[in-house]
Structures are given as C-alpha cells and as structure tokens.
C-alpha cells in the first residue's frame, strides 16, 4: 500500500499559509525576533519565532476561540488549509477520516491564565474550558469536532517527531480501512512566561540576543536553539483511492520508522536516530544513493549536532545535500517535525532545496545548503527528527509518479 499526501496546511513564523512559508524558506528569511508578549527579563532565552499578528477571529468561529489555546487555533487553521488543498469532499462518510495532530506541551498559555485567576480570585474563577483546552489531544479533538471527522483519532506526545510518528500510525489506520487521516503537529510555546519557564530547565535554549547568531547548528558557534510556534497538517490517503477521486498527489510517504533512545537529553550517540533512518529507508526501498536531500533535526546543541552529523556520514558515506530551514525561525517542538515534513514536500515539488539561514560555515563534514536555495533533481527526501527524552523518527518522502 502506498500512502500519499494530498493536502498541506501550515501556520508558521512566516504567517498563515503554505505559500508564504515556502517563500520565506527560499529567501532564508530571518523570522526570529524578541519574544513580544511579555517581559522576558530574567529568562535565559529572550528570542523566539512567533506567528506574526495571528488573529484567531479571522480564521475561527467565536466558540473555538474562547474554548481553546493558541496551539489548537494553529492546528484548526492549518487543518482548514490542508482539507481545502486536498479537495476531499466535506460530505463524505464521517467515520472514514481520522485525526492525529500532535503536541508535546499542550495549552500552557490558556492554563497560565486560569491559574492566575485561581490564585488571584479563587477556584470559582477557573473557567470550565480549562478542563479541555490544556490537553495534548485538544487539537485533534477540536479538529475532529469542527470538521465532523469521526474516524480513528489520537495524539502522540513524542516531542518534535510527533507528526513523523503519526505518519507511521496513519499508515496502519489506512491499512485497517480508514480512508484518510489528518496528520500534523502544532505548538504555541512562547506566548506566556510559564510555557517559556517550562522549557528552560533542559538547558538547551540559546541565550543570545542576536536573531542571526542565536540558533546556528553544526557550527562552532552553536550554543542552543530558539523556541518557535507553529503547525503543519497534512491529509494522507491511500494512493489508488486518492488518484481514483482525482486528487493531486503531492508526495508519497514511502517509509517511516521510530526508535526510543532512552531518557535524558537527545538520544545519546545517535544510535537510535541511525536505526530509525535505516529502517525508514529500508521500508521505503531506497538506498543511500537514492536520497537526494536530508532535512536535518539540527538541534543547535554541539553534542547533538555532532551525533547527527556522524549519523549522516555513516548513512551517506558519499555525501548528501543537507538542510535545516528551521534555523530561520526556531524549533516549534511538535510543530517542528511537522513543518519540516511540509518543507520536504515543497522542496520535492519545486526541485529546490531551501537554505539553512544564519549558518554559513558548515562543519562536521556536511554538505549543508547555505545562503541560497540549491536547484537539484530531487526524487527522494529524508526527514529526521529527535525529541528531548530520546525519541527519534525518520520519514522518507518521494516525488509521486505522474500517470
């Protein structure tokens, strides 16, 4: 069975919509800026990748604005674009489509407001929607409710690889008879002091105040990453069914694999990442010579970067083009892997590898695409993602055969 992507939607620091996202990636635009919503003095990190001027009322009905956190606003908005893009009929069998939109932080900003009300005024002032808004599965649930999608639904809480893992789950759901899945990752982790405080303990955030040097993985200057918000959602279907209904097949999800490398920081040594990448390539039936571009995880922490570079050298002894467009806007946790999957699909479509902004001096023996986009014959892309706590995931995407 071949699983294909027929719809894409994104909300990113480049704004709402996939076209603007791709334009910003190709320009290598700097979308990192001081976190605008609160006083960040006292925080180690003060920069972030914020979705600019997002007005939920412009995209969603009032009831969803009131009862959900920003991470769910982004997910619903990206899901709308993905559904429109897929051209899937809105009046089909409701049980034929499922939803798997991942998050690893949940609705912390919403929760902070309610906890502020608790301490300031008392328990009677905590709103009932707190019970659902904070929850990791809130985005899946609200996208399901709002679009009447009643197929297999769930959430995977695996940090950045969420959407990559969800693609693997979706393939199983399609095998069991589900017609389509809305798969994605969404996060809004820089809108409140509490959400930022939750990230500081890991000691991986950049303390730099210059957006151009704060997040520079694979360089000697690497000293952490900048957090970001955003979402990407894809519609996936079985290829024959998608073609039968005349859908535009944007990419084939040829292989996916996940491993767990143990508790702690990122999978130490990269052995788990290597295994996931090899298994994903094996499942896709591709060898190292077939992979045209790698979308790297690119944490920006020297040890994790060195591990990933070692994995890439082992996988591709003859070299491969590597890029990490997220250095332009930061890491959006469960949104990060999802935005990378979207970037890889767009890259295959445009036959263009977007650059790795702010990184000019690729070390560690990598053929990193820097400064400007690189035109290339692209048939196969490998996306790598790691989560704090040892999750690793890899996805192989291929350009569809146009019949």
């Amino acid at each position: 069975m071949a699983m294909v992507i027929t719809g894409l939607g994104t909300v990113s620091p480049a704004g709402v919509g996939t076209e603007d996202y791709w334009t910003a990636l190709c320009e290598g635009r700097t979308l990192i800026a001081p976190i605008p919503d609160f006083d960040t003095s006292g925080f180690h990190v003060r920069l972030g990748g914020k979705v600019p001027g997002f007005d939920p009322n412009a995209h969603l009905e009032g009831r969803y604005v009131v009862q959900t956190d920003a991470f769910t606003w982004f997910a619903m908005t990206a899901a709308d674009e993905a559904l429109r893009d897929s051209g899937a009929a809105a009046d089909g069998d409701p049980y034929a489509t499922g939803v798997l939109i991942c998050s690893c932080a949940g609705g912390v900003e919403f929760g902070q407001r309610e906890i502020a009300a608790l301490w300031a005024s008392g328990p009677g002032y905590v709103g009932p929607y707190q019970s659902i808004a904070w929850f990791y599965a809130a985005s899946t649930g609200q996208v399901s409710i709002r679009n009447g999608l009643k197929g297999m639904c769930g959430v995977l809480v695996t940090d950045e690889p969420g959407m990559l893992d969800a693609l693997g789950q979706s393939e199983r759901a399609l095998r069991r008879g589900t017609s389509a899945m809305l798969v994605g990752g969404s996060e809004a982790p820089i809108g409140s002091p509490f959400s930022l405080a939750c990230q500081e303990g890991a000691g991986l955030l950049s303390g730099d105040d210059d957006p151009r040097s704060a997040y520079v993985p694979f360089t000697e200057r690497a000293h952490g990453y900048v957090p970001a918000e955003g979402a990407a959602v894809a519609v996936v279907e079985e290829e024959a069914a998608a073609r039968a209904r005349g859908a535009r097949v944007r990419a084939v999800v040829a292989g996916q694999a996940s491993t767990f490398g143990g508790v702690g920081a990122f999978d130490p040594g990269g052995a788990g990442l290597l295994h996931a990448a090899r298994q994903a390539m094996e499942r896709a039936g591709v060898g190292p010579e077939d992979v045209d571009v790698v979308f790297a995880d690119a944490v920006g922490v020297p040890k994790a970067d060195a591990d990933e570079a070692a994995v890439l050298r082992q996988l591709f002894p003859r070299g491969v083009a590597v890029t990490a467009p997220k250095t332009g806007f930061g890491r959006a946790y469960a949104g990060a892997g999802a935005l990378d999957v979207a970037a890889a699909v767009l890259s295959l479509e445009h036959q263009l590898v977007p650059p790795t902004p702010h990184v000019d001096d690729a070390l560690l023996g990598l053929d990193l695409v820097v400064r400007v986009p690189r035109a290339a014959r692209l048939r196969t892309a490998l996306v790598l993602s790691r989560g704090l706590g040892g999750t690793n995931s890899a996805v192989v995407l291929t350009l569809p055969e146009h019949s």
């Binding site: 009032g62 009677g124 009932p128 929607y129």
Partner: protein, 85 residues
Amino acid sequence: MPDSHIAIEELVELMSTRAGIRTDAATAAASTFEDLGVDSLGVMGIVAELERRVGRKLGAEAEAAPSPSALVTVVNEGGPAAERV
C-alpha cells in the same frame, strides 16, 4: 447587596464572553443553548459568573437549564429553593 435577578440581555453578554457565541436577546429568548452552539462547559462558565452576580449558589438545576429563558427562570424564581440546598 447584589441584584438577585437577571435579564436575558445579561445572558447574551455572558454567552459572548464565556462561550464565544454572539447572538441577540430575541434569538436567545427563543432558542436552546444547543441551538445557539453553547455546550455544557459553556453553560457551566455562564452559571459560575451568574452566581457571582446574584451572590448565591445556583446549583445543578441552573447548569442543566436547556435554554437561556429556562436559566433566567431558574435564577429569578429559584432563589429560596437554591439557598435551601
């Protein structure tokens, strides 16, 4: 002393701020919460705010009110009964 009575206009305001549903008094008076798109958690939030405004507990009867009109009736006529609970 807080005013122990409410008007439908107050519910129109609370449906907007607590549940994100915009409507007018005439529509609210003729509709159920379900018709209007206010779910059970939305009604709970509205009742919590009403309890603060009228200065007494309204209880489960208020939270189970099927419509804005029914909720107004519970608040305006159920005072003593609610206080006995």
